[in-house]
């Protein structure tokens, strides 16, 4: 599987010292017969994330794990752009470092792409076999409601807009990323909506989104406001 293709896995990090080694271990465990590299874009984490990555480079090799650090937090979108510059694969996977995206799904992404020749394969919580784990009922309702609202306004043709576990053909990601302007949660949504509008072939695979192993994630009023502003922006501009 994936003998002729090379996959560059871009992982933006900030204070992920506790998770990054687990993630790298699990990626290597689940992608045994695949040519891949992991590009870690660290935004100057003060917790020693980069030291752990350097230790991992000693174990797995600097050609398999690339540390492409930046001096400070510069945003998710630019982190992908930065990682993309150093990607040598013809496919790019983007995923979170906090293990909310389990590497065990990577083979199914690759398989789906090979079966369908899709330009994008996106992980979704909202198809059979997908779901979330470790969320409160309120958070599930908020997430599902936000997704329904976005589906109503944007008609994107994919079931999970805010997920960020995706596989892109490199040329497609380069094209889409150059036309996106949003930040934060909305950035992921803008990427998939613009890809849909541009007519790229998008496929979905079910994933289970799991709350992070170490650390905490937040969803507050300001995130919801930003989300609504992003929705309005996408409604007008796409």
């Amino acid at each position: 599987m994936g003998e002729r293709n090379k996959y560059s896995i871009i992982v933006p990090t900030y204070n992920e010292r506790l998770n990054i080694a687990l993630l790298v271990y699990l990626v290597f465990k689940h992608l045994r017969d695949v040519d891949f590299e992991i590009i870690i874009v660290d935004d100057g984490s003060p917790d020693g994330t980069q030291e752990v990555v350097k230790q991992l480079q000693q174990v797995y090799g600097e050609d398999r794990i690339l540390l492409r650090a930046r001096p400070k937090k510069l945003g998710l979108g630019t982190a992908y752009c930065h990682g993309l510059k150093h990607a040598s694969g013809n496919f790019v996977v983007i995923m979170d470092a906090d293990l909310s995206h389990h590497p065990k799904y990577l083979p199914s992404f690759i398989k789906k792409q090979m079966e369908t020749d899709a330009s994008i394969v996106t992980g979704t919580r909202y198809v059979k076999g997908g779901g979330v784990h470790g969320w409160t009922l309120m958070r599930k309702l908020t997430s599902r409601g936000a997704n329904v609202l976005a589906q109503t306004l944007l008609w994107p043709g994919v079931s999970d807009l805010t997920g960020s576990f995706r596989l892109y053909r490199k040329s497609v990601l380069e094209d889409i990323i150059s036309s996106c302007f949003s930040k934060g949660y909305v950035f992921q949504m803008e990427m998939i909506v613009r890809a849909s509008r541009k007519g790229y072939h998008i496929e979905e695979v079910p994933i289970t989104f799991v709350d992070r192993v170490y650390g905490s994630s937040k969803l507050g009023g300001s995130e919801i406001v930003e989300y609504l502003k992003g929705l309005a922006y996408l409604l007008v501009t796409t």
Binding site: A21, G131, T208
Partner: protein
């Protein structure tokens, strides 16, 4: 663009319907308070009708995601089922992930890599 046209058409149709009702003189201009109340009802009408739509949409099948999946996804007991771990309880799911962490630690710690809370 197609979806914008559709949404705008819908909003225009609803607005036209409401303006039409106001212009029919069913309510005399002298009944100011009644008119204000009716406008307040309209302001409530849109969210009140959208909410049931959202609920139906949330429970509607999306790409094969069935109504029962939606319900199990929202219930606490069905989390593991919705999470793709059919027949596996939340406790077992947590244990499985814990096993991943232990396995990674056993492999990486002897090789000098800082893992987890170590």
């Amino acid at each position: 663009m197609k979806h914008i046209v559709k949404i705008m058409t819908l909003l225009v149709a609803i607005s036209a319907f409401w303006i039409g009702l106001l212009k029919t003189s069913v309510v005399p201009h002298s009944h100011t308070w009644l008119r204000i109340k009716l406008n307040c009802y309209v302001a409530i009408f849109f969210p009140a009708t959208y909410l049931p739509y959202c609920i139906v949409r949330m429970l509607r099948s999306v790409n094969g995601w069935s109504r029962s999946d939606a319900l199990s996804n929202l219930s606490s007991r069905g989390i593991a089922v919705a999470a793709g771990c059919i027949g596996e309880s939340t406790y077992e799911y947590g244990k499985r992930r814990e096993a991943d962490v232990i396995e990674a630690k056993e492999f990486l710690k002897p090789r000098g890599v800082g893992v987890g809370s170590d």
